[in-house]
């Protein structure tokens, strides 16, 4: 079986329209890391089991290692690089830092993107909803306690904005 080469796809990647030539069986994660040079999404398993590669595809958190790039054609892709900067980090990014929710940090981009997808949809989640939304994201370092706290902190910050 031969891969058809040269499928051209368009991604709205962190708000900017970009074209890529991809192979039929190439994953979105591969395109991000190898073609777009965005290494924030991590490869922890390449099998859809760890969540380190989580990005937001048209508003939903997905394991980008389980999405074929051709399936993402024409869609909006948000990655960790697109949601905040050192000067203006996203409230989740700042909360993860302040809460001590980051140790080795390898799970962090995926955790933050999964949490962002949750908060975009449900700005006031309960602790149980947070735990459920993040249960596909594995972390071996933190025991998750501070990750949960960080998301709660971000909820407070974001709802503070909303009230202003």
């Amino acid at each position: 079986m031969k891969n058809e080469k040269n499928n051209e796809i368009t991604l709205f990647l962190n708000g900017s329209e970009q074209r890529f030539c991809v192979e039929t069986d190439e994953t979105l994660l591969h395109v991000l890391r190898k073609r777009a040079g965005l290494t924030g999404a991590k490869k922890g398993c390449d099998l859809g089991e760890c969540g380190a590669c989580t990005v937001i595809l048209d508003g939903r958190a997905v394991n980008s290692c389980c999405v074929f790039a051709v399936q993402a054609d024409g869609k909006h892709v948000e990655t960790i690089e697109g949601i905040g900067t050192a000067e203006h980090p996203h409230p989740l990014q700042q909360a993860f830092v302040n809460a001590g929710a980051i140790q080795c940090g390898f799970c962090t981009p995926g955790m933050i993107m999964a949490a962002k997808a949750l908060l975009d949809r449900n700005p006031r989640p309960s602790r149980e909803e947070i735990r459920q939304a993040l249960s596909g994201n594995l972390c071996r370092c933190t025991g998750y306690e501070r990750i949960e706290q960080a998301v709660m902190m971000a909820v407070e910050i974001i709802s503070g904005y909303a009230e202003r």
Binding site: K42, D46, C50, P89, G100, Q103, F106, R131
Partner: protein, 753 residues
């Protein structure tokens, strides 16, 4: 207790590098790109024991992008030991870069390279290897049977790599002094580290003379030495540089595939990336499975009289760390006992190779000991906490068969703090005991060292003063996610009396930083920390000396990090920045560089107490963990946020170990069942019970600013505390992990509201 006032330590602050991680900017090994980089993949044995009959590259060579292959006869043939420990006769050499006689699932047979990672994998899969499949010995018992074949005949005929006997007292005397003796056999499963970042390296040996390696490394200086030996290079021509690392827990306290990737780089004259798949990572190394036969005897008053243990570790087919893991286990008994017998066996098998894993032998022996202590308490009719406390080693006393006295001990405070938290929980959620459900608490104590117990820890630091009173701190120790770079910077800031923001650290690059034994044995805070305090003292002494050269007539003193010069009846006070400028630009000035080294003469023991609340559903034979409390004496916690994080992470690993983690090999197919993260399950967010962690006030006289260690300590008491809780709720005696073999595991957490 305000005896010790600090500005920059014993506070909780976010990691220095955490924002770059949160932004997705931190660069891990597999994020690095070098021009003209190629990718390598390994051809690995699918069998636990076999002989290679032939290797056929025809199909592999047809894969587009194929660049080349290395076979066993193309690489150096001398045996080595991949352990990242400093050289020791215990580290027996029995491993090869590539082999035609695979002794374990995943053994390296050949290496192929291609233009992309996918092509390299496809080429590796296309290599046709014909095997003669042999019968493996997967557990210690079968490997020790009389008729078992020798797995490494040039090392051992009977598959015992090493026997270690550590003892004091007299067995008969211990028996006759004991009114009660409890005994049982305990077994623990092989557990995998599951760092979320898979193992990876990028090696550039393009010119065949100078080698640069970027890799997931805990022990850059040992890895440099090993690879120099294997490749016949001089250490000065090898650079190991550690990028950001996604966890270690011991898995990277060894060489993994840097040797073969370097050889491939030399062959291709191109930099080579070699990264493991999750499956490769899973079967690369484990915490040793153990069999522990233990007898504990006590007189009626609860005093321990006898501790008699036979300790077997399943090494897999390569020695790597095993005899040092056994040795470390021999001196981790925190209770006084006059008659102590430890017999440890390192045993070759064909199971997955055992290596270093957080706890390093302590985990397995503490598991057996703490469960049996609970049974002993029942026999004596004593409270399990009091039984442990009356036997506990005090300051000035030594652990059985150990030579360094305990220098600080906050275990009683740990107990009291745990009990206070326990009382709060039970007030809010009173213990349930009815027809259906029974809840109970279980406890465990533990200890560890603050560095390798063999006193081989050695570290060094350099502090260079800039003219604006900022400093460059250079250390060889690796931050693998545990937060050592922040902790080290805090120690330097505290010692120099400057803000943390004035310290810039460079760590773990053999080209740029001074020697450090490595990140293992929970040694970073104590050993590297002590090197830093010495480097800072050296810097301060040099500043004073230089000021005295500049002001030869005057009297120069340091007071609270300010330099006071009295000359001709005038007093001038210089802060560090003013002193730095004066020194650097004065005609009699100089460059201020402080250096310090620390050879671990002491190894203070940190202590931990863990309480677990669990419930048992009688009809379902199901268990649920509700709350876990862990309170520790780690001396001065340098960064309280980091220490708390280490405890919480250690608890999570203990939960996984207790409940369901085990690398399994299917006895029929003899292949691993645990080939991915669905079949090797680590705790998810939703699996974790409520956790409570704290540190008691403590100060160790030998620690840098009073600090001891935390990393390994955190996880050791968790599994036995869980078992002790489950034992009390279910009324069943337990002597093996994981508990999912015996019980249905219910998701942890009470429902909210």
């Amino acid at each position: 207790m305000n005896e010790h006032q600090f500005e920059n330590v014993n506070i909780g602050i976010p990691r220095l590098e955490s924002l770059s991680k949160a932004l997705g900017q931190a660069k891990y090994t597999d994020d690095l790109r070098l021009p003209n980089m190629a990718y390598a993949a390994l051809v690995r044995s699918p069998y636990s024991c076999a002989r290679v009959l032939s290797i056929d590259l025809t199909e592999a060579e047809k894969i587009p992008g194929y660049l080349g292959c290395l076979l066993p006869e193309d690489v150096p043939r001398q045996y080595f030991n991949c352990s990242g420990n400093p050289p020791s006769p215990l580290l027996i050499h029995d491993e090869l870069v590539l082999t035609r006689e695979p002794k374990v699932l995943g053994d390296r047979i050949a290496c192929v390279a291609a233009e992309t990672e996918e092509m390299a994998r496809a080429a590796a899969d296309a290599v046709q290897v014909e095997y003669e499949v042999l019968t493996p010995y997967l557990d210690v018992r079968s490997a020790l049977r009389e008729e078992a074949k020798a797995i490494q005949p040039h090392i051992s005929e009977d598959n015992v790599i090493q026997y270690r006997d550590v003892s004091q007292g007299d067995r008969g005397a211990g028996e006759s002094a004991s009114d009660f003796i409890v005994e049982d056999c305990f077994s623990t499963p092989p557990m995998q580290h599951v760092t979320i970042e898979p193992t990876s390296c990028l090696c550039d040996f393009s010119d065949g003379e100078h080698l640069t390696v970027y890799s997931t490394s805990q022990t850059v200086f040992q890895e440099r030495r090993l690879i120099a030996e294997i490749l016949g290079l001089r250490e000065a021509d090898v650079r190991f540089s550690k990028p950001v690392v996604g966890g270690g827990f011991g898995a990277r306290q060894q060489l993994h595939a840097q040797h073969i990737a370097s050889l491939m780089s030399k062959k291709l004259h191109r930099p080579v990336n070699l990264s493991y798949t999750r499956e490769e990572d899973l079967y690369s190394v484990v915490r040793h499975a153990s069999e522990v036969k233990l007898r504990i005897g006590a007189s009626r008053d609860g005093r321990l009289q006898l501790f008699d243990v036979e300790y077997y570790l399943n090494a897999g087919p390569y020695t790597t760390h095993t005899p040092t893991v056994v040795a470390a286990a021999a001196r981790k008994l925190q209770y006084n006992v006059p008659n102590y017998f430890f017999q440890g066996y390192s045993v070759y098998t064909n199971h997955i190779t055992g290596g270093a894993f957080r706890g390093y032998g302590n985990t397995q022996i503490s598991f057996a000991r703490e469960i049996l202590m609970d049974r002993l308490a029942d026999k004596l009719g004593m409270d399990p906490v009091e039984l442990r406390l009356i036997n506990h080693v005090q300051v000035g006393e030594c652990f059985p068969c150990a030579s360094i006295p305990v220098s600080s001990n906050g275990i009683e405070d740990c107990v009291r703090r745990c009990q206070a938290i326990q009382a709060e929980i039970d007030t809010q959620f009173p213990l349930v005991d009815n027809e259906e459900v029974r809840q109970a608490w279980g406890i465990s104590f533990s200890c560890h060292g603050s560095g390798p117990s063999s006193k081989e820890g050695l570290s060094s630091a350099i502090v260079m003063l800039n003219d604006d009173a900022t400093v460059q701190l250079l250390v060889g120790s690796s931050d693998i996610g545990q937060g050592s770079e922040t902790m080290e910077s805090q120690i330097a800031a505290e010692c120099l009396g400057i803000p943390l923001s004035s310290v810039r650290i460079t760590a773990a690059d053999t080209l740029l930083t001074p020697y450090d034994t490595g990140t293992f044995g929970s040694s970073q805070t104590f050993i590297c920390g002590n090197a830093i305090t010495r480097a800072c003292d050296d810097l301060k002494a040099k500043i004073l000396a230089q000021l005295r050269v500049i002001f030869p007539e005057g009297k120069v003193e340091e007071r609270a990090n300010r330099y006071v010069v009295q000359e001709n009846g005038q007093t001038t006070e210089l802060d560090l920045a003013q002193a730095a400028r004066k020194i650097m630009y004065d005609p009699k000035g100089g460059v201020m560089i402080g250096a310090g080294t620390y050879k671990a003469a002491a190894c203070p023991n940190p202590f931990s107490v863990c309480f677990v609340k669990a419930e048992y559903y009688k009809k379902l034979n199901a268990i649920r963990l509700l709350d876990i409390i862990e309170v520790v004496d780690v001396g001065t916690p340098i960064n309280r946020l980091t220490v708390a994080g280490q405890l919480e992470g250690g608890i999570a690993q203990g939960v996984g170990y207790a409940l369901y983690e085990r690398m399994e090999i299917n006895p029929r197919s003899r292949r691993t069942l645990s080939s991915d993260l669905l079949h090797y399950r680590i705790p998810q967010m939703d699996d974790m019970p409520q956790t409570y962690v704290d540190m008691v006030d403590s100060h160790d006289p030998y620690g840098p600013l009073g600090a001891k260690s935390v990393g390994e300590l955190a996880t050791v008491p968790v599994a036995p505390a869980i078992v002790n809780a489950v034992r009390r709720t279910s009324g069943q005696e337990i002597n093996a992990l994981p508990l999912c073999d015996r019980f249905v595991i219910l998701p942890s957490r009470r429902k909210e509201g």
